[in-house]
Symmetry: C2
Subunit: 217 residues, 2 copies
Amino acid sequence: MLTIYGVYRSRASRNLWLANEIGLEFRHVPVIQADRLPDPAAPGAPLHSRSAEYLRINPNGRIPAIDDDGLVLAESLAINLYLAKKYGGTLGPADLAEDGLMTSWALWAATEAEPFTLQVLYHMAALPAAERDAGKAAAAVAALAAPFAVLDAALAGSGWLVGGRFTVADINTAEVIRYAQPASALFAAAPRVKAWLAACQSRPAYKAMMAARDQEA
Amino acid sequence: MLTIYGVYRSRASRNLWLANEIGLEFRHVPVIQADRLPDPAAPGAPLHSRSAEYLRINPNGRIPAIDDDGLVLAESLAINLYLAKKYGGTLGPADLAEDGLMTSWALWAATEAEPFTLQVLYHMAALPAAERDAGKAAAAVAALAAPFAVLDAALAGSGWLVGGRFTVADINTAEVIRYAQPASALFAAAPRVKAWLAACQSRPAYKAMMAARDQEA
């Protein structure tokens, strides 16, 4: 039995999308990020990422995490690589070379892109207008020019990142790049990235994830 | 044939240490980080990470990268996971569960630890004294208290991170944690981390890597 911990409005979206792609059955425990709650310690507060109960699952106090028949795993991108290898068929690697490339894209997304795509999300969309910092947004957009160019070039072959087909590498990377969508200039300058993200987000499994996300309280 | 691109004084150290552990033969191309050169564009400048020649290998302009019989791979932690799986025997995962845990530790190290361990390194050791910022050092040390506690707890079982034995997960994580060694208070508060890092760094393959690093021009 697979359990996915983490609300849709979190990095758990990556795992929930992948589970939809595979058609995996799972139990969903909508753990919320503690910093989204005004008072996580209040009686009756919903299950959150810094609760004693959840810290036993992920001592880092981060969502998502999974429990797959007793294997507890954290780090959303690693969870997806694991689930794709175990259950995902052609979404996972066909051999060690593809495994290496898919793992490399996960680390690329986490280190070269996500610190900046998150800044775009916060300062161009997610934060209340009064808390947004135009300077931080501009710096993040500037920092993303080079990674977007690398990603655009990588998509020049088949339009997908690894193996000439849609894989977990596309899901992982697309979910990190999604945070930069408020910065439309980045996508105008990288037309293959724009087309690839649109193709990823047109998949029924992505749409089902987003529909469930929109339903979330 | 395996080629490792990147000087010892870079994240290539991770790959060079692992290659030593396995006894892998490799060609070493000591590409230097462009920002370490006063003028990377000067005639006669050594091969650097933003040279046209190297950008054909890693368009991100980062070291390290490898070429293993034609498979070109970037991201030091992903490279190590790949090499361990392909050539590393018990350094690599025994099954998909260990593979998931080792990949999770790589993403943990890159996102929860490295942004802060690098700040410790820069502002407590690597930068010239006049350029160090005590406030940044203190903030990084404070941010590392939680990840060090998580790491300390993870080592409580066998003293190693995955599978009750020394693996690529220890090499990857130890190399990221090494950057924080100037902050001795962190290690005093996490005695298992201190003992584990000492055990990792007492290995002949690590010492051989550091000896070659010390020889580097």
